[in-house]
Subunit: 491 residues, 2 copies
């Protein structure tokens, strides 16, 4: 039945916290019964690793093992709260540059939802950028009252994930690929992402590509989810839309997740660790199993992936369920029984969505040792000039008082252009009805658009610091003729 | 029937673009028939005002009129694309500090949705912060490849909207008030918002207050929307969640919107201008009418508000509809006919959700002339020290090369602590599998935590600028013992 000549590959496995170990054991038991030709190297990651004092939630040995094997299969993990440490899940995705988070949301027969009852079929794939956005976690409080998070979107980072999405969509035979964004408000950041989307789209004329503003997208997803196919988004918006879509098909317990990178990929369940039911052998392993099936396909193990998935879908159709879903008229199975039922149904095909059992495609491990960090840099297209600087200063004074002081510091190189507060212009024109906080953005531009150098900026910085605490500064760049900075509201 | 002794108040009205004028005319016709004691001063805002060369989409006269009257009732408006100008809707909200966007989403009988068919009743009020977040629109491109948006959340701004939400919830008789956020990732910004939420919650022990992470919230809203009552969120997340909720009840055409400030409030329809059907007298005026009803209540015109709302709900229950919704078996009405039907049904009560007809409560205009901008500043709680600086530099070199150069610039005041790229630490430790872009964040801290002054930072700036282009900088502050900055991923 199976092609057992397939050479065993080794992957890293982290069982996770809470219900992690039991759903991972159930999944690996199914893999074993299906004769999946994989070997597992178990690694130390998760809450108990934080507790041991490793501030990124993994041991150095775990990191080296995963980097050596290139594939991590992981259960849910918890990050300790209130210790200032960052999520181990996010650290893993970012450190190893798994730039594309792919999540598939499909109607599962046997899992009732409002939409399944309304007869609306769902088959949506979300590709979420996985590294950038506010997930950079670069935050500062310039004053007691003001907290800032830097949201960055880069051209090479956007191109990586968008190219992946188009290539995946093409292989899948997708008709439509949609970019979700908020470029009407975040014109430079989401504008860049959208520009990259249409740049890549040109290479895929056979796919219908379009875009939709993210709030509108969410409205449409709860009214006509069947209109969408593949959707690519930036990180936070993709996070929100993914979980919305999970809700459409029954929740996080039914949605697989793959984090794809060029060197390392991570397959995981994204639901929580459910500490309240941990160790009771009642957790639902479906999401982790579906993620495992996606991993098998990624590794070319098409045959085992199809057999397991068909059996899972068949079992769900038959009403087999754990305690968290399914009909009340049939007894729910515990985690082990659920896994056994799937094993018993190997070879059975579901009525809906049966997968063809393809032959395995030998995958050569794509691992190659890197000896330095890959630098993603676009060709510079336009000449770059510094034409001004935004100075973010702390002050509780009125705008015109600040303006007077700043004009004295402008010197012979700069003009004071405007002053804004929370992005709204308050000088030279504005409204007294604009409420202020104690950080202003003071914009200086060069006289007559003359190019500036860093020494000019430093001169202004030194002078201005005589009157104000400068919390932050940002250069104003001109790329060719294009202003690489936004105007203030009302400017 | 009506209390006609009520003194006529004057409000500003902007009809808007596209279908704006026809739905506004229909709404004002209904108001007139209900003897709403309001006078209208029509003001110039919208696309055609941009086209005339006013870069904020309103004439100076419009601004002064609205500031003088304190209430703006507006139709949908369009912002010209590709001219670099900002949305007139957002400009209005920010300039006049309408800090709370209140949107009510209720099941309307006669408007079929997946959820109404499933018998899930919806009554959710979203209060969205309306000024801050990335809606500040403060964006820069420090390099050709990197775009940055500053997301800021302030303590006084958060307190304003959260206090409004609790006060509104209390008046409404709400049982539950929920804060939606992403504080697990944006620990300082959304962490501050969440902290303010629970600070205000202490003053309302009679309300059940809780919080939920925004992606989880969206999943729950599409599975169990009836579990929620009032939800308060930051700006972008609130925008997304609002439109999701609009979808739950039938779309933007059925959801009112009020922008509440201390001095000026704006009532508007948030759907688009629908230029394709403009001028055809077929647009659905329900959202604008519902916004108008909310405005009447805001002005104490409880009697007219209830009569109009009861008639609207009754008419919808009777199957009266415009072309965009309702049963295909009854002829749809055009905009004027729809308005007339509501006028004809004055005095009728709906089967579901009838409003009691309360007496009007004389409202004294709350307008008072401001002669300067209100400054919202919290009492400083902790001593503030500068303990370092983050320097954002442009470079395509490897981390260890940058580290060597930076260490030479650290001098006698600073230690080079770490280097990160897109928020992930790459020096002193890191992974070669982390992909880089051409902007690094180089973190310097003072030796032994000694307090620094601006001159120390300037000294470092000057020295470092000999080797690097410094795109941006950010001070590292210590408030009391609390670090007012985030760690890098992996730090």
């Amino acid at each position: 039945m199976y092609n057992t000549n397939f050479i065993n590959m080794k992957i890293a496995v982290a069982k996770g916290d809470g219900i992690g170990p039991e759903i991972m054991d159930a999944t690996l038991k199914i893999f074993s019964a299906a004769k999946v030709p994989l070997e597992y190297e178990f690694v130390d990651m998760g809450k108990w690793v934080f507790d041991k004092g490793f501030s990124n939630g993994m041991t150095p040995e775990a990191r080296l093992t995963i980097e050596g094997l290139g594939i991590l299969f992981k259960g849910p993990m918890e990050t300790p709260k209130g210790k200032g440490v960052k999520s181990v899940n996010v650290t893993a995705r970012k450190t190893w540059n798994t730039y594309a988070n792919k999540r598939v949301f499909q109607t599962l027969h046997g899992v009732d939802t409002v939409f399944s009852k309304a007869g609306i079929p769902i088959d949506i794939t979300i590709v979420r950028e996985n590294i950038e956005d506010t997930y950079g976690g670069i935050e500062h409080m310039p004053t007691h009252d003001v907290a800032l998070s830097r949201r960055f979107i880069t051209r090479p980072g956007s191109l990586q994930v968008i190219k992946y999405a188009f290539e995946m969509a093409k292989k899948k035979g997708t008709k439509r690929i949609t970019c979700g964004h908020k470029a009407n408000i975040m014109k430079l950041t989401d504008g860049l992402f959208l520009e990259c989307f249409y740049e890549v789209a040109k290479q895929y004329p056979e796919l219908k590509s379009d875009d939709v503003i993210v709030d509108d997208l969410c409205m449409k997803l709860v009214t006509r989810p069947d209109a969408f196919d593949v959707i690519v988004l930036t990180n936070l918006q993709g996070d929100i839309v993914s979980d919305l879509c999970a809700g459409l098909v029954g929740g996080l317990g039914f949605a697989p997740s793959a984090n794809i990178g060029d060197h390392i990929s991570i397959f995981e369940a994204v639901h929580g660790t459910a500490p309240d039911i941990a160790g009771k052998n009642i957790a639902n392993p479906t999401a982790l199993l579906l993620s495992g099936i996606a991993m098998l396909r990624h590794l070319g193990l098409m045959e085992q992936a199809a057999i397991i998935e068909n059996s899972l879908l068949y079992s769900l159709e038959q009403g087999i369920h754990t305690g968290d879903f399914g009909g009340k008229e049939t007894r729910s199975k515990n985690t082990t029984e659920f896994a056994d039922a799937i094993i018993n149904n190997f070879g059975k095909n579901p009525e809906h969505g049966a997968r063809p059992v393809l032959s395995n495609m030998p995958v050569t491990a794509t691992m190659f040792k890197l000896d330095h960090n890959p630098m993603l840099v676009s060709k510079e297209m336009d000449e770059e000039k510094i034409v001004g600087v935004d100075m973010f200063i702390e002050s509780a004074e009125q705008p015109e008082v600040i303006a007077k002081k700043c004009q004295r510091h402008a010197g012979v190189k700069f003009n004071l252009i405007n002053i804004s507060n929370r992005g709204t212009q308050v000088w030279p024109t504005g409204s007294v009805y604009t409420n202020l906080v104690n950080q202003y953005n003071v914009r200086f531009e060069s006289i007559d658009g003359e190019p500036l150098n860093q020494q000019d900026v430093i001169g202004l910085y030194v002078s201005l610091s005589g009157n104000f605490k400068i919390c932050s500064s940002e250069l104003l760049n001109l790329f060719g003729e294009k202003k690489a900075y936004s105007l203030a509201q009302g400017q």
